[in-house]
């Protein structure tokens, strides 16, 4: 597997605050990589650096071999790296379909193709019945899937999901996990920031753990849950025990 995304020595400073310190990791093509860590670990900051919303203070971010650190976000999107927002941002006065259509126009400037792509994305994200609904009037679960559908419509090579599952009911979590599996099945590479271990552990190929802005571990989910550093910093002993039991049963 070749690397889709290479993050090398990325640091991000806000004044005196060091939000990320010398973080390096790779995302392999076609993989689902999870970025986890306690609150304030710098996950979203790192995420925003990759998506072009922040210019990192130091380090390099290469997407498909090209340097993208410091590029404005619309250029990052045009290179095939799409993102969703942690706090959902529907284009409120537009319908669900129109929201997705805006994304679809990126790869398909002509109306006919863009509409076809948008319809497909509606379906992949279980949003058909909400097609003509004003995007601002939906439940949070639907809005979260709209975030994914809109990003997906840009025909990306890789998609960045910022806490796509946070705040959802258990039914909605299952729907979202299904959507993420579909993304992978469609050949997309996924980097996801997530808090809900039950959602990320079963589907991730690799987990990167951040704490206080630094990477403290990287590896397969089953190894990560046993890593003492990760348990101390984030998961807690109880979680490791349940995972052990789950694996043993």
């Amino acid at each position: 597997m070749s690397e889709m995304l290479q993050v090398r020595g990325v640091s991000m400073k806000f004044g005196a605050l060091l939000a990320n310190k010398d973080v390096s990791f790779d995302v392999e093509e076609g993989a689902i990589v999870g970025l986890i860590g306690p609150n304030g670990a710098g996950k979203t900051t790192l995420f925003n650096c990759v998506a072009g919303f922040y210019k990192p203070s130091a380090g390099s971010i290469r997407f498909r071999g090209e340097e993208i650190a410091g590029l404005p976000s619309y250029k990052v999107a045009r290179k095939g790296l799409a993102r969703t927002f942690q706090v959902v941002r529907p284009l409120k006065e537009m319908s669900v379909f129109e929201n997705i259509l805006v994304g679809a126009y990126l790869g398909h400037p002509d109306n006919k193709h863009a509409r076809k792509v948008a319809e497909e994305c509606l379906e992949i994200c279980f949003l058909q019945e909400w097609r003509d609904w004003p995007a601002g009037d939906m439940t949070i679960g639907n809005k979260k899937r709209l975030e994914v559908a809109r990003a997906l419509a840009t025909s990306p090579r890789m998609i960045l999901l910022d806490e796509a599952v946070a705040g959802l009911t258990s039914t909605e979590v299952r729907e979202m996990v299904e959507v993420i599996k579909r993304l992978k099945a469609n050949g997309l590479t996924v980097l996801m920031v997530e808090h809900i271990m039950e959602a990320i552990m079963p589907i991730a190929d690799k987990i990167v753990v951040l704490a206080s802005g630094e990477k403290i571990a990287e590896g397969a989910p089953k190894d990560i849950v046993r890593d003492p550093k990760v348990i101390t910093a984030y998961l807690g002993k109880k979680y490791a025990e349940t995972m052990d039991k789950g694996a043993g049963a």
């Binding site: 619309y74 799409a82 284009l91």
Partner: protein
């Protein structure tokens, strides 16, 4: 096909045909009602030009009188100083207005929401002062037309208003048709996406600054053409007449009154406001100047409080909203 689809497909061309037929039916002539009709068309075109960036693009500009004024001065300069036909002045004025819009808007677009609006206020003041002291374009006195031969070459008619009516109709048709095409195009969707959330739009590959500047340039170009018509219609131009906050307000308020960010809103706003303004000015003048503005202000206040969607919102919005709520309740009931 239901009537709504038919209306959305054929409503606009049918309206144009009907308006074009008015002079043939002898309904347009030298009278006051023709003046009102021309002013409605001109004002609707102005408000729609503003609506492109202010409504669809969500960038509330109070600077449009500057572009309007540049267009007016373009035509007047060609006639009064250049001693030629106003046509080249109109085109040059419109292009200059678009260029000015890009130069002025680029720094202003770094500001968002109210701050952008406030910055555009300042722009009007600056241009007003510059034109006041600029002798080459007549300074505070402005430019007065000499008597010209009637006809399309000079774009002036002294008594019969049919020429002006057709001119206003062409302008109106141009601005509204451009808006309709944009509304249904990729650029239109991008423009609305930028209004609804700039960062979201950028995350979808939209160059928001580029989109806003393009819309602003187009909006200014069209506003300048309206200004040129205004100068030709009034036979004169001076800074307070065209480059003032009063004039800027007209762009904004007509659109707000009718329904901001909608295709029909500017026309509805002009249809309600202009007859009101012109007739109250004609018949209530003995009560003192500005009665029309008092009535106008009152309507705007009531509108903002009770129906921010404008007249179009009264006609469609509330019903749509109710239907939506009903559908939502039904869906939630079904889910349980």
């Amino acid at each position: 096909m239901d009537y709504k689809k038919l209306l959305s497909k054929f409503g606009w061309p049918l309206l144009l045909v009907a308006l074009a037929a008015l002079p043939l039916a002898g309904l347009v002539g030298p009278g006051f009602s023709s003046h009102v009709l021309i002013t409605v068309l001109l004002t609707a075109a102005m408000a729609q030009a503003w609506n492109l960036i202010g409504g669809y693009g969500g960038q509330v500009s109070f600077g449009h009188s500057v572009f309007f004024g540049i267009g007016a001065y373009g035509a007047a300069f060609a006639v009064c100083v250049g001693k030629t036909s106003p046509w080249p002045g109109m085109i040059v004025g419109a292009v200059l207005a678009a260029v000015t819009a890009v130069i002025v808007s680029y720094p202003c677009f770094k500001l968002k929401g109210h701050y952008f609006a406030i910055a555009t206020f300042a722009v009007v003041e600056i241009f007003n002062r510059v034109f006041m002291i600029w002798d080459w374009v007549g300074g505070a006195v402005g430019l007065d037309y000499t008597i010209l031969e009637d006809g399309w070459r000079n774009f002036t008619w002294s008594v019969d208003k049919r020429g002006y009516y057709l001119g206003a109709l062409v302008l109106f048709a141009l601005v509204f048709t451009i808006t309709r095409v944009i509304e249904r195009s990729r650029f239109g969707y991008y423009l609305r996406a930028v209004r609804e959330g700039q960062e979201t739009a950028e995350s979808l590959g939209v160059n928001s600054t580029g989109v806003k500047l393009t819309a602003m340039a187009l909006s200014a170009f069209l506003a300048a053409l309206c200004g040129a018509f205004f100068a030709q219609y009034n036979f004169r131009v001076d800074p307070p007449m065209v480059m003032s906050l009063d004039m800027s307000m007209k762009f904004v308020l007509v659109a707000i009154l009718g329904g901001i960010g909608t295709f029909w809103g500017p026309l509805l706003g002009a249809l309600v406001l202009i007859p009101l303004q012109e007739y109250s000015r004609a018949y209530l003048a003995k009560l003192g100047s500005g009665v029309d503005l008092i009535i106008f202000g009152l309507i705007i206040i009531l509108m903002m409080v009770y129906q921010p969607g404008g007249i179009l919102g009264i006609l469609t919005g509330s019903r749509k909203r109710q239907a939506r709520l009903r559908a939502r309740l039904a869906a939630e009931g079904g889910a349980k």
